[in-house]
Amino acid sequence: MNKKLYSVVLAVLMMAVCVSGVFAQDAIKIGGTGPLTGGAAIYGNAVANAAQIAVDEINELGGLQFELRYEDDAHDAEKAVNAFNALLDWGMQISMSSVTSKPAEATSELNMEERVFGMTPSASSTAVIEGKDNVLQMCFTDPNQGSASAAYISNNDLADKVAVIWKNDDVYSKGVYDTFMEEAEELGLEVVSDTTFSDGNDTDFSVQIADAQEKGAELVFLPMYYTPASLILAQADAAGYDPIFFGVDGMDGILTMEGFDASLAEGVILLTPFNADSEDEKTAAFVAKYQELYGETPNQFAADGYDVVWALAEACEEAGVTADMSAEEINDALIEVFKTFTFDGITGENMTWDEGAVNKDPKGMIIQDGAYVGLD
């Protein structure tokens, strides 16, 4: 009996030592959490796939070597914290934070506490970067997108009367909506119709569309992901209502959506930093590689993930980071570098960072003949 107990205790101890053991290494370990399973899995997998492409490209060049690991958080803050801790056990030196906003809010707190440098590809909520000196965003913050959209509509004289349909139980939609309304008021845009929908109640939009139509809105702003947006487009078409539809980056992906008649999206304008049909050399190469490996066109999440790895790699080069440095040493070095760092990627040029938020120009795209065309 005693011997058995002794052997069990010994086995447990040995496991603990193994797990916490330190191994010599020659690659810098980058870790990230994202929804690889569940309802938001499309975003997590896009980022993880694209980041892996970037890591492979960088390793092929021969300079600094990187190792990437993505852990599943199922778009849940609790699981994201578990995943982040698992990555720390693995020996993560640089973090890609989390893919989605709420999990990133929880893990960015750990970035701050544990002094691990973090850069999120796509968690756009302001709470992710607020009050943290070592967490950066590659995507626009939600407020940024809302005000940029209102400014874009006003500056280009797209419409005087505007309708907004938004999802009131979604962090992303609400974040964009709030600042859009603020900026719209300031710029004198008249919002004539303001209607909402929520989870489980997102298949019939006849009431919202009728309201916008009745009040004579010339433009309908849709701060939401592409699934509900595709239904709104189809139902507005059926109702014989043909305003300008205006979306933000969540609309990206609508053209490749299964079962959606892409002709309905003709004339839709959206603000997105990434255009998969761009003729830019870097973008085209990335899109080709992604299609070859994963059989689909990369969305904006993938592009952000790709850019994060490249930005981190270039910043590490500039900071003189080596694989044997601790996470905290790398953290301090990267904070210093990112103060003056500029980066050219596939989601924008001359990007700089200010208190964690990225400065880059949103690109206005209009859908013509089933493809994005730059508006400017």
């Binding site: 690889l36 399973t37 578990n82 909520s125 009131n168």
Partner: protein, 348 residues
């Protein structure tokens, strides 16, 4: 009577031993980050499982909305803690007061929902509690609460009507939930909450109340015929269960920097029910063990990468079959008999 007592001591001994081992491992730095991060959630889930076991196993009513009470405690407790940031600088004390407030609100929710629900039985009661959980989720998804020196500011659907004085902050922001929570939950607080929960539940079960509650479970008509006030005892068990869930919700929420209403949805209610069923209806020790194992399991399976949740489901099925097999049941009762026998020998 004798068997129940053994079970009780096993529960306490298990929790105290686990706490001592974890504290030693933490102090000597032998514990992995991932394990350390799971300690507080494990404590919260244990309390959730024990409290639901009170409703399902001991009172005998199937409740599918237990996460609703957790949500109630999480939001009210966290708001209370945020409001006390300056007035109560001591973190342990602030957490304690918040948990009490979470428990009170959980209990109130339990009482309110208990009035209509406890008139129902079986399947009907299960469906109504399910609806209740969804209602709580919807309310917190649309509730906006701000706080400044003049007090609280409530608004439904939009935060437009809330005007805060300087130094005020938004507490609950609808679907965004509560952000920027200062994490003050500790393993020790979780441990104390478990011990308190065990104390309350065992005390209840062994008292006159407990006997009446179990009599109602076993035969409602017979119990009523000898003068047991069914509504009163049912309500007591239900409210205590809800209050404990509220305290666990506060503990859970204060372990993360952010919390949303969608976290406490139907899935969470079912997860807690799984913990209870796996541990055995009415078996408190079983609830503790199953809550611990099922919280660690998905993390331990990270090595399976994409197949993780599939493996998790298979393990769950196997464990359910295994613990229910007659051979295992025999083995467990044999061990129990032996343990009981040993104790008696020692006592002599």
């Amino acid at each position: 009577m004798k068997r129940k007592n053994t079970n009780k001591y096993v529960s306490f001994a298990l929790v105290i031993a686990a706490y001592a081992i974890m504290m030693i491992l933490t102090a000597s730095g032998k514990i992995t980050r991932s394990m350390q991060g799971m300690l507080v959630p494990i404590c919260a889930y244990i309390v959730m499982a024990i409290s639901l076991n009170l409703t399902v196993g001991i009172l005998g009513e199937l409740s599918l909305g237990h996460a609703g009470f957790m949500s109630m405690g999480a939001f009210t407790g966290t708001c209370a803690a945020l409001m006390m940031t300056e007035s109560v600088p001591d973190e342990g004390l602030r957490l304690g007061i918040s948990m009490v407030i979470g428990a009170i609100f959980g209990g109130i929710a339990g009482f309110l929902i208990g009035i209509p629900v406890l008139r129902l039985k079986g399947d009907y009661l299960a469906i109504v509690t399910l609806a209740f959980g969804e209602i709580i989720k919807s309310i917190f998804n649309n509730l906006y609460v701000g706080f400044d020196k003049y007090g609280l500011n409530f608004q439904l659907l939009s935060e437009k009507g809330i005007k805060l004085e300087e130094g005020g902050r938004m507490l609950i922001q609808g679907a965004m939930g509560i952000s920027k929570i200062k994490k003050i939950s500790t393993f020790t607080a979780g441990f104390i909450l478990i011990i308190l929960t065990l104390f309350i539940v065992y005390h209840l079960v062994e008292s006159r109340y407990g006997r009446a509650i179990m009599a109602i479970r076993d035969n409602r008509i017979a119990a009523e015929s000898v003068g047991v006030d069914v509504t009163k005892y049912k309500m007591t068990a239900f409210v205590i269960s809800a209050a404990l869930a509220g305290a666990a919700g506060t503990l859970f929420a204060m372990n993360y920097s952010t919390i949303t209403a969608n976290k406490f949805d139907f899935n969470t209610s079912i997860l807690i029910l799984v913990l209870v069923v796996l541990g055995g209806l009415g078996n408190i020790t079983g609830s503790i063990i199953s809550a611990t194992l099922l919280t660690i399991l998905p993390e331990a399976l990270r090595g399976f990468a994409t197949y993780r949740m599939l493996v998790y489901a298979i393990v769950l099925i196997v464990v359910m079959l295994f613990t229910n097999a007659s051979g295992t049941k025999m083995l467990i009762s044999n061990i129990k008999a032996k343990l009981g026998g040993n104790k008696e020998e020692e006592e002599q």
